[in-house]
Amino acid sequence: MQEKFRDFKAEPPAALWNNISAGLNKPTKKRLPFTWMAAAVVFIFSAIGLWLKNASIITENQYMEEAVVQKPESTVFTEDTPENAAISIVETTHASPRKAKNSTKNTRVNKNIALQTAADVQTKADRVSVETLVSSPEPVLIADPFPNSNDAAPAQLNAANVVEESETSAQDEPLSRQRGGSIGRFVNKLVAKVDSREDKLIEVSEEAGEGLKITGLNFGLVKMKNKNAK
């Protein structure tokens, strides 16, 4: 039986190659880079958001302390900054879940940050979900991550400005000291899972006490690295 069919050949239909060719043309979309880029964008915003939460902006500092003292329950503060992105950050702990509202005003955007009681602050957030609305394409957003001026131009992402501004006040914050290191490690670890290159899409400082400081960015075309890092 085997012998009979050993050299058995037959002519396939003439048009078959065209069908095969067509079948090969279809799935050429490279889904992978898009997926990890999208995930990376989420990480950037969560990283920035977490950093902002820890570091706090100048005016917010006092509010936070007061709120912690006065109200053990959840407190929501609204921050008005000229940005293109709306960030809504929700942190949940084992004890008490909090909710943050997200609203937009004309071209401006409110950034809402949920605060926790002093007790809750000690425990790590075990879940962070980020809703991000991005109105401008990524290159524009990331073009100037370490700006020196408080440029209020809508094209720039001023969360970056906020990052710059708040660095100085971050040192005073006892909360960030504890969280900065572990969150930094966590973010870097997650990014490393997604990005296999040596210079990661985003790299944050793993040193405690610095809050969540971005030490490196790599978007292929645009690369930034803080030489003092690690």
Partner: protein, 186 residues
């Protein structure tokens, strides 16, 4: 030797996704692969479908081939798997008991008197599930155990499907033998 190096060259091109290399490789291997598909399929159209789907998978998975061993063997494996998938639903009702009896039947039958084309027709006339098993056992040479594992066949079950296949086989062979014999007499 020259033949092998040509296929290797084509393979390199295929690994780079070059359409011309892919076509070249297709033209080279299609006749043999079509032969394989024809004996797994119930008719010429099904065979063409299996061949087409099989080759698409070959080119999509080409980087999995590690340039060791026979490429034809590797491609043939993909064709057979494509055929199995085509008739997957027909395989569900097969059991281990059924396989034993099919193998027995095949062993006792004298195939020599039949021409390839006649044999092919006979095989194509089998029920889909049994045709797959028949090919794997009688032509590919897999063992009962290997086939059962490959097809995910469970132990025990009814013999009714098998009986039907046996009857068909016997009957067909008988007819063909008589026809062949009659042809030779003239």
């Amino acid at each position: 030797m020259k033949q092998r190096s040509t296929i290797e060259d084509l393979l390199q091109g295929c690994k780079r996704g070059e359409r011309q290399a892919q076509e070249g490789l297709y033209r080279k291997l299609a006749p043999a692969m079509m032969g394989i598909c024809l004996r797994y399929a119930k008719d010429h159209d099904d065979a063409a479908d299996i061949l087409q789907n099989g080759f698409v998978r070959v080119f999509q998975k080409i980087n999995d081939f590690r340039m060791e061993g026979s490429f034809e063997g590797w491609a043939k494996r993909i064709m057979v798997n494509t055929a199995i998938e085509t008739y997957r639903k027909n395989l569900r009702s097969l059991t281990a008991v059924s396989l034993d009896e099919v193998q027995e039947e095949v062993a006792y039958t004298n195939w020599d008197s039949l021409e390839v084309q006649d044999l092919l027709q006979l095989i194509q006339d089998l029920p889909n599930g049994y045709r797959v098993v028949f090919n794997l056992y009688a032509i590919e040479g897999y063992s009962h155990k290997e086939i059962a594992e490959e097809l995910g066949i469970s132990e025990g079950g009814s013999k009714s499907q098998l009986s039907r296949a046996r009857t068909i086989l016997k009957e067909k062979i008988k007819q063909l033998e008589e026809f062949d014999h009659a042809r030779k007499i003239r």
